[in-house]
Symmetry: C2
Subunit: 250 residues, 2 copies
């Protein structure tokens, strides 16, 4: 009873007990903040099942020896044309329900990527932009995604919302140089909630290592705003909490 299941099974000649092999896919929820909305890259499926239906970009491992993380980076660069060094990519979760692909057994290791928004970067082709879809529309309507991708996207968005609270990842949605207002818009758009500009400014500029002033200024209508770059900090102390999180108090 206290024996290692795997050891027990592998103790017999390995050909005698067949270890089930399944196809392993990698799917990506690539998020950005653009045109005032949180958007995700979707692709249209060409074949059954779910032909013609939107889906998260992804694919099977390219070959048996491909690293799962490497496959995620490969898909990310294929979809965005961006160099992966500058992007944030993290594993979200693995989805392994036996019936999630009607063709065969597939489990998918899903990743979450944050790419900068406002100034559309290097790969700003027209066809490319059409693949960015507002997540609100995808999640709220009866719009459906292939496979269990709607659930995956919902998990990804919730993870993103949560990570803004206690990490500096919001800056990953911003261009290399950005203002405090840009950053606040990221929070407001991802959280769907307005923040006080004055208090927000004080808060983020007081966290050591979050924002590094470049000395530059931008003017977009009013008093010019100072420009910042991302600092080395990755965690936020203290965190910036969503107000819903404190409404459930007592």
């Amino acid at each position: 009873m206290w024996m290692d299941d795997r050891s027990a099974q592998a103790a017999m000649p390995e050909e005698a007990w067949t270890i089930p092999e399944v196809a392993v896919a990698v799917d990506l929820a690539i998020l950005t903040v653009r045109s005032g909305a949180l958007k995700v890259v979707l692709v249209e499926r060409g074949i059954e099942p779910f032909a013609g239906m939107p889906a998260l970009p992804g694919g099977f491992l390219a070959h048996e020896a491909e690293d799962v993380e490497a496959a995620a980076f490969r898909e990310l660069t294929e979809e965005t044309g961006l160099s992966p060094e500058s992007l944030h990519l993290e594993q979200l979760r693995t989805y392994g329900a036996p019936d999630r692909d009607p063709r065969r057994r597939v489990i998918t290791v899903c990743y979450l990527a944050f790419v900068p928004g406002l100034p559309s970067p290097t790969a700003g082709g027209d066809a490319a932009d059409a693949n960015w879809v507002p997540v609100d529309a995808v999640l709220r309507k009866r719009s459906r995604l292939a496979f269990d991708h709607k659930k995956i996207l919902a998990d990804a968005v919730e993870r993103a919302r949560s990570k803004l609270e206690y990490t500096t990842l919001a800056a990953a949605f911003c261009p290399p140089e950005f203002t405090v207002s840009d950053l606040r818009q990221v929070y407001e758009i991802v959280w769907g909630e307005e923040l006080d500009p004055r208090n927000f400014h004080r808060k983020v500029t007081s966290v050591a290592g979050f924002l590094v002033p470049t000395g530059g200024r931008t003017s977009r209508g009013g008093r010019p705003a100072a420009l910042f770059r991302r600092g080395p900090a990755e965690v936020l102390h203290p965190a910036i909490l969503r107000t819903p999180s404190r409404t459930g108090r007592r």
Copy 2:
């Protein structure tokens, strides 16, 4: 370029392009707080590779159609003899480096389980208890685990420490009825940090839905302590933060 990789490949007859299939394992970091230490279940491997070396319990999918989550529950009950309904089990992360198993390509979907500690439960056989090993010893020393299990365990412990901050999961380490002191000991042992008993008491009893008084009392040396059951709350507002988390402040 903007075509779904999977669709493109599957568009040809499926036998023409061979989708690589890999073996999928499920490994568990089963944690408890017992005898004043955070402990994990380890098993001894019977065969190469890593024969005789301790490893996290786990195994391959039992058959091609087995749900990954179901496999995790199966392993958990096999290892602990506990009914899974009462236990906390969550997916930790998937580890998919191509060389993590020298025999063949294996990716492992890892889970994290919290089981109650102090009163050793139903399956309290002697052999069983020998499998509980303090995580400190496993992580600090040059003690090694099979495969990448040491890294997996480190990730699991960090996840556990973090989840105590903002969820009510510490109670999952406690028996059905417990005192505030029991709960505080869980925090102190998992975090390796002493907490003020007076402030801790006030904090946890003031979070709505965390602790439900049963009316019972226990006496273990001093004034009897009130007994509590787990309440319905799953998140902690406000969170109970580790002091290290605020030292990195400015």
